[in-house]
């Protein structure tokens, strides 16, 4: 592979819009994916992530906007003229060809030299040596997945697109393949663009995650950044879980914003406050909330919430998950690690809650507090 300059093979989408007869699937999307990165497009079904992927693959044509790889405009290039390959959701392996020929398909179309050696190397990479002469239907789901990956990778594309590649696998295999995919990506050093609705999958594998909703990107960044500092209620709810509590902004005090939360004054770091309004949603992740007996000293100086009553206790092994009803009627989620040093509270007990101010975030009150909460 000639690696003239890294920047010349990065993927750029600018102002890409795709309208179908009755709705807009993708709305003025801007996206830059650096060469060699593992990029995830995360969102619920119907958010436009697959349409975005198909436009990069050339299987759909944007209504407007442009798609470039490096300096080459590929917006209207035919699928077979793009340095892009896809791992399809249902693999789409050719049933009449064996594993070897499936993988060799792209190489043969481009009259590549040493097809057999390249296919063999690829089979080694995905750990399928010895399966070369089997037909796809003789393979397990996980093996088919690897063939689909090998078939795309062997062409050394500038960008590899993965459309829910692990969706058809069971949970255990999915975990194994996540690690596997990450290993392969690091090994080959290609740009992977991965579309998924599974937030855990996106966070485990990708360097950069873009959370997509209703045709636009809500927020983009490293997984930890998105999780710790969401900018919208959708991201806060879709990526993990969040407690969102209505509050009135009292004012700004240096690096902190003071918020009145049903009579309790809490503070949120200024760089985590994503609203200019007078009202907002105070957000805090359940595992950042500490729970204690009434009056007990809590190791979280700052925001202190009294008068909670435990309404639900779920013991899940590594942690205990509580629902705590606050005086204003809202139930907050609290996850506590089972370190063995803390007592496990029972249903109906009175408790105090607290969290360190630096973990809280503040979101705009105009956003739907239930956005991004999955129904399942």
């Amino acid at each position: 592979m000639s690696q003239a300059s890294e920047g010349s093979r990065s993927l750029h989408l600018s102002q890409v819009t795709k309208e179908f007869a009755s709705f807009t699937a993708v709305d003025s999307l801007d996206l830059d994916v650096a060469h060699g990165s593992f990029f995830a497009l995360l969102g619920p079904s119907g958010c436009g992530k697959t349409t975005t992927l198909r436009m990069v693959a050339g299987l759909e044509t944007p209504t407007s906007g442009s798609i470039r790889i490096g300096d080459t405009d590929i917006t209207y290039a035919k699928p077979y003229q793009r340095p892009v390959n896809t791992v399809f959701q249902s693999y789409a392996l050719f049933p009449h060809l064996d594993v070897h020929e499936n993988i060799a398909f792209g190489l043969r179309r481009r009259r590549s030299a040493e097809v057999d050696r390249q296919v063999k190397d690829m089979l080694d990479l995905v750990e399928l040596d010895g399966q070369a002469r089997k037909k796809p239907h003789q393979l397990s789901g996980g093996q088919q997945q690897r063939v689909a990956l090998a078939r795309a990778l062997v062409n050394g594309p500038d960008v590899l697109l993965l459309d829910e590649p692990l969706g058809a696998l069971d949970l255990k295999l999915r975990r194994a393949m996540q690690i596997e995919l990450k290993r392969i990506q690091t090994e080959v050093g290609l740009t992977f663009v991965h579309v998924t609705h599974d937030q855990e999958e996106a966070m485990t594998m990708a360097d950069t995650v873009a959370v997509m909703n209703a045709g636009v990107i809500e927020q983009m960044g490293a997984p930890a950044e998105l999780y710790e500092n969401p900018r919208t209620t959708f991201v806060a709810n879709f990526l993990g879980q969040s407690n969102l509590i209505a509050g009135k902004v009292l004012g700004r005090d240096g690096d902190f914003v003071k918020v009145d939360m049903h009579g309790i004054a809490v503070s949120v770091p200024a760089q985590r406050a994503h609203t200019d309004g007078t009202e907002g949603w105070v957000g805090i992740r359940p595992e950042k909330v500490l729970i204690a007996e009434v009056g007990e000293d809590i190791d979280a100086p700052g925001n202190h919430l009294e008068g909670g009553i435990v309404t639900d206790v779920s013991f899940v092994g590594v942690s205990t998950q509580y629902l705590v009803r606050m005086p204003w009627g809202q139930e907050l989620q609290v996850f506590e690690q089972n370190t063995g040093r803390r007592k496990i509270f029972a249903h109906g007990e009175k408790v105090d809650l607290s969290w360190r101010p630096e973990y809280a975030f503040l979101l705009d009150s105009s956003q739907d507090v239930n956005a991004g909460i999955e129904d399942d």
């Binding site: 050339g58 390959n85 050719f94 398909f105």
Partner: protein, 299 residues
């Protein structure tokens, strides 16, 4: 093909438990077996007997089986031009049917959208009138002073006294017309099953639409091609209506010979032998064809 897989065996075991008697399966076969016995084995036996009749028999003196194998030699000697012509016409018609039928089936399967069902009905629609009537109307259409011939003469495609009726072209065209639905339907069935994403995947893997067709769509449609060509070729090779109505004696096919031997000259011995020869040739060709195209590898 291969040995039973484990789940298949398990299913079989449970079927046994539920089914009770091990004879149930055979009883269920009985109606089909009876049908085959009555309408295939018995007539076939009588055909074989006829082919071994004493060639000197007649309606007046009666026929008797004297194992006269010479009937086969006579049949080949006297009627090999018709036999070869039948295979040639049927083969040509099958090839034309395949080309037209493939385009039609492809269009219905992939391009027709909501018109798909209507088009399928239109393909079958000719069956609502009799085979004979339809062929007779072609006789009118292709007649010497009909508009087709005069138009073609006007355009100098046909010579001044050129004609269509009673030519080999008319016979082959008639066969193509009459057997086209038998080609289209199996082709449609196998094309329609092809996952469009496979073609997308081929495009993604640098295949132009043309290459994608020959590397993916065509091989995946081979079961339909095999079924369609057999369903067309076999009856076409034995057909006599088209040659009778649209051809002249110069276009006689083996079907016409058998028909006239049976009904006019009552030479049952030669007719029977000729029928068996046609059958054996077709079975032989079909076996070679299936071996060659090899649908077993296909899913």
């Amino acid at each position: 093909m291969a040995a039973l897989t484990a789940p298949a065996r398990a299913a079989e075991d449970s079927a046994k438990r539920v089914g009770g008697s091990r004879w149930t399966g055979y009883w269920l076969l009985a109606p089909g077996a009876l049908w085959l016995g009555l309408f295939f084995v018995v007539p076939f036996y009588s055909l074989v007997s006829a082919s071994l009749f004493d060639p000197n028999g007649s309606v007046l003196t009666g026929y008797k089986v004297n194992y006269h194998v010479g009937n086969f030699a006579t049949a080949v000697k006297d009627y090999h031009p018709e036999l070869l012509r039948s295979l040639w016409y049927a083969g040509l018609a099958t090839l034309i049917c395949l080309v037209i039928g493939y385009v039609l089936a492809y269009a219905i399967a992939f391009k027709a959208g909501r018109w798909r069902n209507l088009l399928l009905v239109l393909v079958i629609a000719p069956f609502f009138t009799s085979f004979l009537l339809r062929t007779l109307s072609w006789k009118l259409i292709l007649a010497d002073h009909g508009f087709v011939v005069s138009t073609l003469q006007h355009l100098h495609v046909l010579g001044h006294d050129g004609r269509l009726l009673n030519t080999w072209l008319a016979v082959v065209a008639g066969i193509v017309y009459n057997f086209l639905p038998f080609m289209v339907l199996p082709l449609y069935a196998s094309l329609e099953k092809i996952d469009g994403r496979l073609v997308e995947a081929a495009g993604d893997l640098y295949a132009s639409p043309f290459t994608a067709f020959f590397k993916v769509t065509w091989p995946l449609s081979l079961p339909g091609v095999v079924a369609g060509t057999l369903l067309t070729f076999i009856p076409a090779a034995g057909d006599y209506i088209n040659a009778q109505l649209l051809g002249s004696p110069g276009e006689r096919m083996v079907g016409n010979v058998i028909q006239s031997l049976f009904t006019s000259s009552q030479d049952y011995a030669t007719a029977g032998a000729l029928s068996l020869i046609l059958m054996i040739i077709i079975i032989g060709m079909v076996l070679v064809y299936i071996r060659k195209v090899g649908t077993e590898d296909l899913v």
